[in-house]
């Protein structure tokens, strides 16, 4: 106890040195721990989301891109499929399809075009306002509302796909009609719209004045008995209102309209197996992926990388320990007078050794405390950190 007291007094007197040592040790200890916490949380989040999604249908290609876009609304849009795939699942009688079109953004938040079935499937609840009803409306996640400071009654503009795409579609001004309760998932940072509204954002569905009855010849290239060809001068509505909603219409066959992915919810295990069998061959241009398997593969890769990181951290830790040993050795030199006093008074080498050991113990305890504190403080924010650092 006397050694601890003397060590404590010495460390308290040399605050800067002590703080530096404690911080060094804390950092070396907390890095692998924090990494472990974050990886555990990312594993939990990724697997929870993937595990609750039975099947994903998408274009053949990277199953990981498909899963990341469909489950976590990652920026990379996989190759697109069409509504025909959705119709095929719906008419099979084996599963419920939930189409997704995740391609566009609104102020850096993903716009998720889907159907109302998605909300029931994910257990999402409206906290403010109401559910989607009309074309052009959106329901936003809790994070979107918080970060943009918007709520029910406000509007949100879709972002152009390319910054200087002058020939691209105009941004759509969407009306916020609802805010979702916090779901602690990727849904918190999504802007949900009806699938048809997502097609409006793309320009596949649009509204404009009726050119078949219009008098303005500058917007008409050609007119026959059956068809009027409109020019690019025809202005399309960039906001859907009660006055112009009736003018919004489709061009082309709805079966050809694009989707980025589809959640497939089989009626039962047998139905799921049958469906997977249908899409196993190379003939269908689609793949039916099991998200849990895809994400487990991703996690295996992450953990292999983690092992490498652990080795690197270990090397850094060894270097740090050596540096700390050097610091202590140098400090012994600086404390030669104190040591000599101890010897003169009647202390021994073991007295000095005990003093040093006590200092090391206190530093380690302080670092351990800071570590524990840091991990405890980090824990409640780990889900948010994982989303920001790894998934978003």
């Amino acid at each position: 106890m006397d050694s601890l007291y003397l060590a404590w007094r010495y460390l308290a007197f040399n605050k800067l040195r002590t703080a530096t040592l404690v911080i060094c040790v804390t950092l070396i200890a907390i890095l692998p721990l924090a990494l472990q916490v974050l990886l555990a949380e990312s594993e939990r989040q990724l697997l929870a989301r993937a595990g609750s999604t039975p099947l994903l249908l998408g274009a053949r290609g990277s199953a990981l891109d498909l899963a990341m876009n469909a489950l976590y609304f990652a920026d990379e849009t996989p190759e697109l499929i069409s509504m025909a795939a959705d119709e095929a699942i719906a008419t099979s009688g084996l599963a419920m399809p939930i189409p997704l079109y995740v391609r566009f953004q609104a102020r850096r938040f993903p716009i998720v075009g889907t159907t109302l079935d998605y909300f029931g499937f994910r257990g999402l609840r409206i906290a403010q306002g109401r559910q989607l009803a009309l074309l052009g409306e959106c329901v936003i996640g809790a994070d979107v509302a918080e970060r943009l400071g918007i709520g029910v009654g406000d509007s949100l503009l879709s972002s152009p796909e390319a910054l200087f795409d002058l020939a691209g579609v105009y941004p759509l001004k969407m009306q916020v009609v609802g805010v979702l309760a916090r779901a602690h998932s990727a849904d918190d940072r999504a802007v949900f719209v009806d699938l048809k509204t997502a097609w409006v954002v793309q320009g596949l569905v649009h509204g404009h004045e009726d050119v078949t009855r219009g008098e303005d010849s500058s917007v008409i290239i050609d007119r026959t008995q059956d068809n009027v060809v409109a020019s690019a001068r025809l202005v399309e509505y960039t906001e859907i209102t009660a006055d112009n909603i009736d003018s919004f219409h489709f061009h082309g066959s709805p079966d050809s309209y694009p989707l980025s992915a589809m959640i497939v919810v089989p009626n039962d295990d047998k139905a799921g197996t049958l469906l997977r069998g249908r899409y196993l061959g190379s003939e269908p241009p689609y793949q039916l992926a099991v998200p849990k398997t895809v994400i487990e593969g991703l996690l295996a890769t992450i953990f292999r990388i983690k092992e490498v990181l652990d080795a690197v951290i270990l090397i850094v830790a060894v270097a740090t320990v050596l540096a700390l040993v050097l610091v202590f050795a140098l400090s012994l030199r600086l404390r030669q007078r104190e040591i000599q006093t101890v010897f003169h008074i009647g202390g021994s080498r073991s007295t000095i050794a005990r003093l040093l050991a006590a200092e090391i113990v206190i530093i380690l305890l302080a670092a351990a405390l800071l570590c524990a504190l840091g991990i405890t403080v980090m824990q409640p924010f780990s889900d948010e950190l994982v989303r920001v650092l790894f998934i978003a």
Binding site: H344, I345, S348
Partner: protein, 221 residues
Amino acid sequence: MIRIETLTFSYPGAEFTLNVPDFRIEPQEKVAVIGPSGSGKTTLLNLVAGILVPQQGRVLCADTEVSALDDPARRAFRISNIGFVFQDFELLDYLNVLDNIIHPYRISSALQLNVDVRTRASELARQMDIGDKLRRRVDHLSQGEKQRVAICRALLPQPDLVLADEATGNLDPRNKGQILGLLFDSVAAHGATLLAVTHDHELLPHFDRVVDFNDFRSDAP
């Protein structure tokens, strides 16, 4: 109290050799040792304290042949029976006055720190007129106050022998007399023997005996 018999000591690799044929100090005697720098005065104190061991001869302190003890025994003997007062005080800046005074009790298992010791430390400090500064850090004290702390530290274990190596060397003239007076009073109050090394000839009359180091043969550079 102290008896040195036919002592020879030299540092390894050095040309300096200290020869002390016969030297005695009686109990409760206050003896001053004078001599030129490098003549071995501090070495003598270290030999008496058992910090150094002579190559030849004996050092006896209160009937204990200190020179014959092993290192742990010499340290235990030293901390329990000998108080050291240094020229540059050798206090620990990171401890307060009280902690410096009781420092010997924290670094050796030969001494037991308890309430009685703390009480005596406080009383010693009060006698030295630093009783109101117990909680103050020593680097906030004046030179004279620091030496008082050092004297308290030396006397707290109630040693039979006090060794003072240029105890007033770093003090101003006004403090020198004060400190020396306090040292003499404390030593007398504890019934201890004092062996002091000093350059200051003005202080010599206060001692019972003055030993000139030139009386001891040494081959100093």
